[in-house]
Symmetry: C2
Subunit: 462 residues, 2 copies
């Protein structure tokens, strides 16, 4: 007999279901045992037959019982442990780290405080969401909506000298994702040359995908092309507009040599990561390498992480026509990773001139910080020289007073200031002592830059 | 002499720069040739020296000229083709297909017209964007923000019987992406068993990543576990809540056998794709397989594509603790692919009860369509039987009047109705004639379902 509670908040059918399930789980009812017919059970419990039917249906659909036509219901064989128990006393999956707290962090990523165009974004977001078209919520083009791809193509043409068809563009949620996708398109077993030091995030992306990475040396103009040639690599990952972390701009001559390297053998490609080309404080921006590529050797990566905000998660990749063909011919492309709403907002942001105004505003903000940094670093001429100026949002500092990177970072840390050693961006651990550190200035307020740099001057002095 | 236009909209420095650049590009000025000093050129052109300096600086930074200390400026060696020319007469990258236009499409993805919770989403979006905290625009946790992971964990606990720590969850922009990521975590050379027919999108994702896929048969209860055992697979991709496309719900007994298979050997895993478990029209939802997993063998995939909208691009993956450890120990995890704004909106959507209300509303909407479909299909009992009812948003129709899948699809197409052959979801092309088609009912209006089904009845009758 099943004990039922009439005025319980648990419905009667559920009480029956729970009871029988428990009996089966605890093997009080054994596999093969016949259940009473629903008519009989209903009569015994003085309830309606449909209530019992509901309980049996649920047991049936969960597989605790089975129905044998013309015979009735039987208990199923249910093997092993199958209780959904709350696990107890499990160790926390991720240990919370006790990160030291810094007064000032010369962070290499992030944007200036107040640097996100809140008002415009909110306005456009409202605009997009109030166009109640259902189309906004159906799955879209795997490469990104035609509208945003067109807008990006126009931006690339006018701002970066890159002429591409919108159909060569793939919109994706960040460079990490686009590199994963590129790996799929290019096929396995690629040997990719990277400058050393380099942007380690891309390095790890490629390593995680199983690529072979060949570190290649660089001089003041960028990657050494002869060394690249000798490395046996069939791809090169470079940042001609502003190498990370070294900060140099690759001059035209080196760019041409690099292009020539790629063009001189089939299936050679250059990945051009143009991550912070929006910020250049002197002269016109140099056209992207992809703008000079006549033979479809350059894969161009651009992002809104630096220019808009890292949390927005929109990047884009321009593929040579042949590689886009390859991708589409694979069939079943991967679904797009950016929501249609974000794509639409960004399209309007580009199209209606917000992006240009935003970039001009941020360029001014960062130029101020840049000039301040340069002025303060000049006052430290007896301690260090610096490079990587006139572009991007970080500078490279090289000590000539005998200070090592290690010592410089530690002294700064003791003073509550975070600076970044160049060796952290090296692919192979350098055996020689480094004497360079990186200072990112995007996220610090002007007055904090002043205070922090003064302090650094003091502690790095001897 | 450089021809300057005083009242041009092109600034003077730019005219000088353009002129010299062209001279160099056209090799009228040869590599190694010395340029006039800026003082001299300024004097000759009757302009200020700083204007010439600006032009030279730009040429310098683009690498057209180089500065030799104490000597002056010299033209660089600039090899090869490097003109950013507009490419001409290129073939369009993607041919536009002439898709036939259907009056009614029994689509298998997409949501009901008006099914997106516009008002709530807009309200929450406004709320999130007006919290002007800069934190919203800094890069976040690679696995997703703690808030959304906590909210998903709570949802999974109460709705799907899955008890997991929020730190076992990774938020990602769609299942395709999460499968890519899973491939990275699990390492290469996996042999993955899939039911046949199956969700081909996942099949292609895994194929593109280089996995070996072993098709395994299924019966009315789901994947055949003996066949799975014999296949030599070390992973199985299943959809126990509602197999796509066949529509069956895996009963408890089969679930336990499957779990036992995974637990009986180290490094065996089950990928549980719980894609449309939110929609169940009879009885309580069956707890997810992951809810019974005591040994960390089940990788759970959930998505908001079906329950909210495919364009929202948010899915989640629950990893066994050991696999999450593996991922984090790789170092440098891939950046999150969902914007922080979307994560925050969705967190509030879940936390403040909007999701529950939305699901209840949609369940009612889809149940209506489901019941309508079932009623109309019952009127076609002389033509076909159907299965996959009581869950999800599609049904499977099997003809018993001699009609083949091919013929059924073609006849429907001639009448302007799109139905989907099961063979399209088979991994291996079936040699035998199929007699089954799929009808998705999420996107069609009730009156259109009625009209379309009446027409199908007529054209499938003989």
């Amino acid at each position: 007999m099943i004990p039922l509670i009439e005025d319980s908040r648990v419905p009667l059918y559920r009480q029956i279901y729970d009871y029988i399930k428990k009996e089966i789980q605890e093997e009080k009812m054994k596999a093969g045992e016949k259940l009473p017919s629903s008519r009989l059970l209903a009569k015994n419990l003085c309830i309606s037959r449909s209530t019992v039917d509901m309980a049996y249906d649920q047991l049936l659909s969960e597989g605790y019982i089975e129905s044998v036509p013309c015979k009735g219901y039987y208990v199923c064989q249910v093997e092993g442990l199958y209780f959904s128990k709350k696990k107890t006393a499990e160790k926390p999956v991720r240990e919370k780290k006790n990160n030291p707290v810094y007064r000032w962090d010369f962070a290499l990523n992030g944007i200036a405080s107040g640097g996100f165009p809140h008002n415009a974004w909110r306005k456009l977001s409202r605009e997009v969401l109030s166009q109640e078209g259902d189309g906004l919520f159906q799955l879209g083009d795997p490469c990104g909506e035609p509208g945003i791809r067109q807008a990006v193509a126009e931006y690339l043409h006018s701002a970066r000298g890159v002429d591409c068809d919108p159909d060569q563009i793939i919109i994706g949620a960040g460079n990490d994702y686009l590199l994963m996708l590129l790996w799929v398109i290019l096929g396995r077993n690629r040997k990719i040359a990277m400058e050393n030091p380099t942007y380690l995030s891309a390095y790890y992306d490629l390593i995680h995908m199983g690529c072979q990475i060949l570190p290649v040396g660089q001089d003041s103009q960028g990657i050494r092309v002869e060394e690249l040639e000798q490395s046996g690599a069939d791809m090169a990952y470079v940042m001609p507009s502003h190498q990370f972390p070294m900060g140099m701009v690759m001059p035209m001559k080196r760019r041409m040599e690099l292009l020539k390297w790629a063009q001189s053998k089939a299936e050679r490609y250059i990945i051009e990561d143009d991550y912070d080309s929006e910020f250049r404080y002197k002269g016109q921006p140099i056209p992207a390498l992809a703008g000079f590529d006549q033979k479809g050797c350059v894969i161009y990566l651009g992002t809104f992480s630096k220019s808009l905000a890292p949390s927005v998660r929109v990047s884009y990749m321009v593929l040579p026509v042949s590689l886009m063909d390859t991708y589409l011919s694979l069939g079943h492309p991967f679904s797009v990773t950016v929501s249609k709403t974000d794509q639409k907002i960004l399209e309007l942001f580009l199209r209606e001139g917000y992006y240009e105004r935003h970039l001009n505003r941020m360029r001014a903000v960062y130029k101020n910080k840049h000039d301040l940094m340069v002025r303060l670093l000049k006052e430290m001429a007896h301690i260090c020289t610096f490079s990587g100026e006139n572009a991007g949002v970080h500078l490279l500092v090289r000590f000539h007073n005998g200070l090592t990177e290690r010592e410089a970072v530690l002294r700064a840390e003791d003073a509550g200031i975070k600076v970044y050693g160049v060796s952290e961006y090296r692919i192979l651990e350098s055996k020689t002592e480094e004497d360079q550190v990186l200072l990112g200035y995007a996220t610090l307020k002007d007055e904090d830059i002043e205070k922090a740099m003064k302090e650094l001057k003091k502690i790095w002095e001897n």
